[in-house]
Symmetry: C2
DNA sequence: GACGGATTAGACAATGGTGTCTATTTTGAC
DNA sequence: GTCAAAATAGACACCATTGTCTAATCCGTC
């Protein structure tokens, strides 16, 4: 009664090595449970149940708990990476309004990379199990924030070159941009909650505004502060 | 051989209810182990061993694992809070150089509240177990970042009033200040590593510089206003 | 319909953890 | 020195989990 239950074995499942349906189902369920309970707290039975699969099937696909765990991590990282590059490709090199462009970019980044399920999962897991698996932490740092950071720095370098930003240290600016964008949301997504679209938009706009106050080139109409300084001098 | 070992029972231990030495020792050890292994992964035996105490003693002081866990959390929060207010009390209301003052403040805040042992512990624990104990998350948000945030907002309000900052939304600025200060360090302290004093200082200075680019009043007026105020007082 | 690989439920031993109990020893106060 | 409270080691029942094994069942393919 309390053991894994299997509703319908899904007749259409292809039996390939790479992407068998059961395999995916196990991976998803494992991600869910590992994220909720941590490595130690997650039980194979619970994962099997959530995946609508027998425990033995789990062991057939992944030799042991740790194998499964590592497979989950790699899977999530791959997905998050794909999302990141797809977003970076959308930034308009010559849009009209830098503030709007950056805000839209920040919203998309947060929604699809940082605040989404994968993002929360991987951060939580790294913090929970990073000490036990230093290897895991290293992979994450290079493939996660590391990639976002350098990609963003490159973007800022381009924008600086087109004279829309006034940045001296691109890497620093990238880190600060990410930090600002997450200032509001961190608390929400820290827990389980997912920020609403409204919160996402609002906090992104506030962050971008501050960022541009610090790093933006005054486009003549927004030169309030600059002019003030000139006049008082 | 592998059970709790007790070297010397420490003859000088007073037997009071409030702060018995064993009690403290257990609390410290429990914090350490819970932080390393999470709630599920930590075993009472390991805690007892690390505290140089028998398992039964642990159960004598704390009825069950969960009781101990909650006591640890409350203890850490109290300590972190005390540290925070002691730091806030040191900010000079009428210093000469705002950048230096803010930088020093940020360094101290990070060293004693955010990047130190307690800070890392509480963040890790909230993220690990927050879902299982929503109560824990709520306490943390109000007593931790919440208190820092409002205290910082109040400080910025004071500084704005003395015309050293140009801020419209104090709460937002406080959040952004904290975010900027942690932009660099987050990655380091995310794992187990403790940032060096040098890293702390450098990242704080970069953050404050950006913050002041966004929110600072042109420095020409700073000294004048300050002096005027002092003289009229 | 028959075959073979995948999948299933369920039993199983081994392990390790929790919380209780007891008999003994230590400790500080008197 | 005596005494009571606290702390100790160790045994214990109980439970959950891991990973293995087996016999039965499902599935697509031939």
């Amino acid at each position: 009664m309390k053991k894994p239950k299997v509703p319908q074995p899904k007749p259409g499942g292809p039996t390939q090595k790479g992407q068998c349906a059961k395999r995916v189902s196990i991976l998803d369920a494992a991600a869910e449970v590992f994220c909720r309970k941590g490595f130690a707290g997650a039980s194979i039975d619970e994962i099997a149940m959530e995946a609508c699969v027998s425990r033995q099937t789990v062991y057939n696909h992944y030799r042991e708990k740790e194998t499964l765990f590592m497979a989950v991590v790699q899977d999530i990282l791959d997905r998050a990476n794909a999302a990141l590059f797809s977003i970076l490709a959308t930034f308009p090199d010559n849009g009209h309004n830098l503030e709007d462009d950056l805000t839209a970019f920040a919203v998309r980044l947060n929604r699809n990379c940082v605040c989404n399920h994968d993002g929360k999962f991987i951060r939580k897991l790294v913090q929970t199990e990073g000490e036990r698996y230093p290897h895991l932490f290293e992979i994450w740092r290079q493939q996660g924030p590391g990639k976002i950071g350098t990609a963003l720095a490159a973007l800022f370098a381009r924008l600086s070159h087109v004279a829309r930003l006034d940045i001296d240290d691109f890497d620093l600016a990238a880190k600060q941009f990410l930090a600002l964008v997450n200032a509001d949301l961190q608390m929400i997504s820290f827990f389980g909650g997912t920020p609403t679209d409204d919160e996402l938009e609002k906090s992104a706009r506030a962050a971008v505004r501050t960022f541009l106050r610090a790093y933006g080139r005054p486009p003549a109409r927004e030169a309030g502060v600059e002019e003030l300084r000139e006049e008082t001098a």
